[in-house]
Symmetry: C2
Subunit: 240 residues, 2 copies
Amino acid sequence: MRFTSERRLDDGVLEREFTLGEVPGLLWTPGSASAPLILMGHNGGLHKREARLVARARHYAAAYGFAVAAIDAPGHGERPRSAADERSRADLRRAMRAGEPVDDIVDGFIVPLVDKAVPEWRLTLDALLSLPGIGAPVGYSGMTAIGIRLAVVEPRVCAAAFFAGGFVPGALREEARRVGVPLLFLMQWDDEGNDRGRALELFDAFNSREKTLHANLGGHAGTPWFEVDDGARFFTRHLS
Amino acid sequence: MRFTSERRLDDGVLEREFTLGEVPGLLWTPGSASAPLILMGHNGGLHKREARLVARARHYAAAYGFAVAAIDAPGHGERPRSAADERSRADLRRAMRAGEPVDDIVDGFIVPLVDKAVPEWRLTLDALLSLPGIGAPVGYSGMTAIGIRLAVVEPRVCAAAFFAGGFVPGALREEARRVGVPLLFLMQWDDEGNDRGRALELFDAFNSREKTLHANLGGHAGTPWFEVDDGARFFTRHLS
């Protein structure tokens, strides 16, 4: 892991850019000597510098004392897209505009993404936990598909908060039955791109003994800010 | 309103019993000079002194600075039950044991209860708001059926947290469409006495622009304690 920049923000948080092999990432750490770690996954084509992700990450570090890391998944953010990536994205956009079923496209696009992204998250986790002041236990917050696989295969992840707003292939919906960590599942009640019934089915599928659903009125991008604090308190309960 | 007892609890909260006409109640107030008021409704045959209700009320007062009031609804707690009350309760128990539909019994039992209880809550509210140190805005927390009617007819109620664990007659489900205050709707995912789909339909029916659903794994009585804090923070957002 190589740090390529660092700056101290006015809320006292240290923001550092890093690369790990070909994976670029960002790390936010609070002033405190020791901080539990949250891995923050992001959705769709979004960048690790996406404004809402950065705002959440800084708030987690400044107000709750978490270390937070985000990386660009393969084909996302700063990373090159393959011709296959571009084709899948174009197919997905076309099918959504036409109101056609997207399940096959999602399966063909997201499953390989998860297959590549999860080992990268695990290598990132190894590197982050070797830094001074960052410690297990570890939480995952963000994109559901990557989070399901990570929660199943990575024993250091002890709690997960998923946003049910992304595409979740059938294979990952099956894997959800093997997720056992405490879970906060956040959905938008009127999400224009995601079927309400399927989101509720997915919540039902998780095997976690402690799982909580939060649903708020409004569309995909309308999650209210107070859910950021609810998420942080969920992690405080489980990672402290 | 006549206070009949008072004691100072070890968390600094003042607990007072009162009567208003034939209605007995409890009031918990924090040490602070001015406190927003939460009306705490309770379910089924429960008493205003029911242990979980009292624990919630004291925590709201001690940790969040709310004044909290509970009254016994007609036929509940200390109040006499009519022969009709006794018959309805017996019918309801028998139908539930036999796995028979309970909708008609619930309609015949709960609608008259709501018709009587809501005016009592409004008179109680008049009396409470005339006390020094207790002020509007006002929140309602608890039993859904009474809370729906109260939120529709009482403009001083500015936010409501409902527990979707009680019987809600069809007429009140219709009235839910006229509830417009910010809403926190709490349900147990595996509530043995309440159908999940109907609870979700009820959440959908409310007309509030801000409404949030919290669902937790487990049966009717299994609501985790952290929801008490979530509820208090909801009221802090809306009543402060």
